[in-house]
């Protein structure tokens, strides 16, 4: 089996850059990394089809070896459609995350960090003021005494 060295180098670069970007904390970069890795995988599928050949349209006089393998191309098409949908969804989530908390970063799971010291404060039931549900963050809301973070600090 012959190997297309250009394809191989491009594929390697895509995987390497993709892995590097996924390790970032910024969500947009993680998304770009996922896109690159998916495309690297697509190239890998393409290269499994062997060297380029004729389009797989049946002709009487053409020997079977002259055709390109159509199956990898069908797989890539499916995979492209799927990664397109997932990328669109990720963009939606990232935008929502930015609208909600004005940040474009992977957030820690609070429960993970204080699993042994979980506060039993319930923002909905215990807050003196009704919980703020608007999408626009007010600067003073973060400083007010009833919010979970300050209460949790007080308990420690």
């Amino acid at each position: 089996m012959t190997v297309n060295i250009t394809l191989l180098v491009v594929m390697g670069t895509l995987f390497a850059v993709g892995v590097y970007l996924i390790l970032e904390r910024s969500l947009t970069r993680v998304m770009l990394g996922l896109m690159l890795i998916t495309n690297g995988a697509n190239l890998l599928i393409l290269s499994t089809g062997g060297p380029a050949g004729l389009a797989p349209l049946f002709g009487k006089d053409i020997p079977p070896e002259a055709y390109n393998d159509p199956l990898p191309q069908a797989l890539i098409l499916t995979s492209i459609v799927i990664s397109f949908a997932v990328t669109a969804f990720l963009l939606g989530i990232i935008y929502r995350s930015w609208v909600l908390s004005r940040q474009d970063e992977v957030q820690d799971d609070i429960e993970d960090r204080r699993v042994a010291n979980q506060p039993s404060f319930d923002a909905e039931d215990d807050a003196e003021m009704p919980a703020e549900t608007t999408e626009f963050i007010k600067a003073e809301a973060e400083e007010s005494p009833g919010t979970p973070t300050s209460r949790a600090k007080g308990e420690e």
Binding site: A41, P72, D125
Partner: protein, 546 residues
């Protein structure tokens, strides 16, 4: 013409249901009727498939008239049809529960209207993954169910759900890419992606290449099945989703991963080359998962950790690679889907009745609602493996298989399995003592509403008398039924199915044994897809001899 020729309908019907649900997006009542009746119809069809697989063995259908291994084939064997029936039963119960929640709250507009169509697509994806006869169709099935699950996970788009959704989506996409890369490499090595064809050709590969392809698939499916150490994402993301969504995820999604693992280990890569590796993973999954569960204060998070822990039992049986071990895994998967889902549904009811799932705030639920206590108690004991429940029978089979194997590692695994069972009991007893048994005043941070309703002796079923409080969870909302029949009914039904798994354990174990036998023998599957006699060259898996 065999019974399997109707198998594609198990995927098509939910898709039609999804399309109709989109059509009726402004008519909640019609939407409910359409989705529930489509799912019930699918369940009848799958029961027929199970019956025909049970009586006539493995059957396959090739779509579009292309002869295998070129065409896409769907395979109905005992294992896949049992999974179909159990998963659709559970999905139906959860769908009725979710519809009941919507009806009780009266909030049927907004993001909730997207729930029904997405849910049907999820069911279609799960069915497709169970029926898939080639690797790429399995990948497509995974993608269908994952994409639907992304939407369900972030339903409503609140802060915590978006945070959890990001982790979930990124981890799922990475596991899918790994799966895709393995498919590409398998295709490069063998020139086929039909699983029956692969079963014949992978044996002929160089052992090193074979092992690499094998491990890549195990890692890709291990992430989906939440095997340790690839399980970290699950307790982070599941608990934040709405109760019915968490319930159906817990029941189905990880089990699709386990199903794919079982197929990999039995059909594609038979033999015991990585069995000791799987045993160590199973042990760590069980023990680390359950230790995580004990540390939790939130019931939903605790349940997510027990879910991870009990995946270990399924890998345990798979690693034994014996008839009894695999049969117990098949039985255990069916048991665990039912019981874990009913526990999450009960957690949803606790959240509704007690206002929280935080064990530091709960108390006195047994007095407040004895029905809820019974509904929690039965599946909890079932999960912990108290005789005579199905959890006990499944674990007994697994431990027996471990003792039969008799290696030192197998005995360690048997000890770990027994310890995990006891620790599960401990975790469940903690929930029982704290949320149900003690008085609400004894809680570390008593919930004002719980204290008020218990002290005046009125076991309130609705929130009517609580709305005058200035703040709190009922402010600004109308009168809510706290334990509506439409939600309790499906939960009771699912708990009853869990008990029925015990009552009909005899025939079920016989079916599981038959499924394990035909999977270990491999030839029935290959013959069904590629035509009689094709599987003659395939060596049976190690433990096929009874």
């Amino acid at each position: 013409m065999n019974a399997a020729s109707v198998a594609p309908l198990a995927v098509i019907l939910p898709f039609i249901g999804a399309a109709l649900a989109f059509l009726f997006i402004r008519h909640p009542k019609a939407q409910r009727t359409v989705t529930i009746s489509t799912l019930a119809l699918t369940l009848c069809l799958e029961a027929f498939l199970l019956y025909s697989a049970w009586t006539q063995g493995v059957q396959a259908v090739t779509l579009g008239g292309w002869p295998p291994p070129f065409g896409i084939s769907m395979v109905v064997d005992e294992f896949s049809s049992l999974m179909l029936v159990v998963s659709t039963t559970v999905s139906l119960a959860v769908l009725v529960y979710a519809a009941g929640q919507g009806m009780a709250d009266g909030d049927e507009d907004g993001p909730v209207s997207i729930f029904h169509p997405t849910y049907m697509i999820l069911v279609a994806g799960v069915s497709n993954a169970f029926l898939a006869g080639d690797l790429f169709n399995l990948y497509v099935g995974f993608e269908i169910l994952l994409t639907a699950s992304y939407v369900l996970m972030t339903l409503g788009g609140t802060g915590p759900r978006v945070r959890a959704g990001v982790t979930y989506v990124v981890v799922s996409v990475i596991s899918s890419v790994l799966f895709l890369v393995s498919i590409a490499m398998i295709y490069a090595a063998t020139g086929t992606i039909n699983m029956a064809d692969l079963a014949l050709r992978l044996d002929a590969l160089d052992p090193g290449t074979n092992m690499m392809l094998h491990l890549m698939l195990v890692v890709a499916f291990g992430i989906k099945a939440a095997m340790f150490p690839l399980s970290f994402w699950l307790p982070d993301s599941y608990p934040t989703a709405p109760a019915p969504v968490t319930a159906v995820f817990a029941g189905l999604l990880t089990k699709v991963g386990v199903y794919a693992l079982v197929r990999t280990e039995t059909l594609l890569f038979p033999g015991d080359r990585i069995n000791s590796f799987l045993m160590v993973t199973a042990l760590l999954t069980m023990v680390v998962g359950i230790l995580g569960a004990i540390a939790q204060i939130d019931i939903k998070r605790m349940l997510s950790f027990t879910l991870v822990s009990h995946i270990g039992y399924m890998v345990f049986g798979l690693a034994m690679s014996s008839l009894l071990g695999l049969a117990s895994t098949v039985y255990y998967v069916a048991h665990h889907i039912t019981v874990q889902t009913s526990l999450f549904l009960v957690a949803g009811l606790i959240d509704r009745r007690g206002g929280t799932t935080n064990m530091d705030r709960l108390g006195g639920l047994a007095r407040l609602s004895p029905l809820l206590a019974v509904l929690f108690f039965i599946p909890a004991m079932n999960l912990a493996g108290i005789p005579p429940f199905s959890g006990f029978l499944g674990k007994l089979g697994l431990l027996q298989a471990g003792v039969d194997l008799g290696t030192p590692l197998a005995y360690v695994l048997v000890a770990g399995g027994a310890a995990t069972s006891l620790l599960t009991l401990l975790a469940m007893a903690r929930v029982w003592n704290r949320a149900f048994w003690r008085t609400p005043e004894d809680a570390e941070h008593p919930d004002p509403v719980l204290v008020a309703t218990t002290s005046d002796g009125s076991a309130l079923r609705t929130s009517r008398l609580l709305t005058d409080q200035p703040s709190g969870r009922f402010s600004g909302k109308g009168v809510m039924d706290l334990l509506p029949r439409t939600m309790v009914g499906p939960t009771m039904a699912l708990v009853a199915v869990g008990v029925a798994l015990t009552l009909f354990a005899g025939p079920l174990f016989q079916l599981s044994g038959q499924a394990a036998g035909s999977m270990l023998e491999r030839t029935p599957y290959i013959d069904a897809v590629l035509g009689p006699g094709a599987g003659a060259g395939a060596a049976p898996d190690a433990g096929a001899a009874p």
